[in-house]
Symmetry: C2
Subunit: 153 residues, 2 copies
Amino acid sequence: MAARIDELDRKILSELQADASQSLDEIARKVGSSKTPVWNRIRKLREAGVIGKQTVLLEPEALGFDACFFVLIRTSEHEAGWQERFLATLRARPEVMEAHRLAGDIDYILKVRVENARAYDRFYQALIAEVKIHNVTALLSMEELKFTTGLPL
Amino acid sequence: MAARIDELDRKILSELQADASQSLDEIARKVGSSKTPVWNRIRKLREAGVIGKQTVLLEPEALGFDACFFVLIRTSEHEAGWQERFLATLRARPEVMEAHRLAGDIDYILKVRVENARAYDRFYQALIAEVKIHNVTALLSMEELKFTTGLPL
DNA sequence: AGTGAAAGGCGCCGACA
DNA sequence: TGTCGGCGCCTTTCACT
């Protein structure tokens, strides 16, 4: 699955991660190339699925999302049907920012962004009403020390 | 800190989150307004710090980042000096995608993206060499079930 | 606060080396 | 594969409502 990427591609991706609003000329200058080759490479990287969607990062606190929880989930159910229902629930719930299936004794971890603790409880109640869950631990974030979407190229 | 945002702002932010490469005309049409007002609102939201940086989301697996760990950290040190060193280490390490200070008996959680388990171990060794840590639990992600940067507006 | 128009810049695509 | 040049759209601004 890992695409063939050379040094120039890496530099271009790095620039795009840092600031996707830069002009082609600007990127070309920084990576030591020029418009057309840079543009062709970006197109190829997009087609190859290396570059996903272009977005803006919003400030959660400025929008009233003051609470962030990491939710550790243990389940006793491991049939396909259960996992499908669980997955569908996660996908349907916009407050679930991230969900991973884990190795080890904890089965899943979620990252959930909500307005406040009450909103988290609503989410929690809705979740356990939809799927049977053996054990849930919620870790409340007091402070986001670091956040980046940029991979270390 | 929460900015005053009306329904139109919310729609605009939603569109930008979904696809920041859209033209102003397109966004204006979708939210039922026109170019200039949309542009003015975007500028204000940027100045207010609601809209942060514009970026592209890269596909980790296409770039060889096949391993993702959530790291639960307990420490016995709670002085300011220790936390400063810890924070500086996290900031300096590009494989740390996310770091939160928590409430409860676990003190910190990190999200770490690396090439493979060996790269994680290098990170782990470097971390405990730099700061004294009481207890570390690493949760290995087997599968990313969901990932979004889009807040639920 | 929204409309319309005008200008400069930039993405995108050609031909050429 | 990289450079140059042009067409047309899109951002950005301003004057008016």
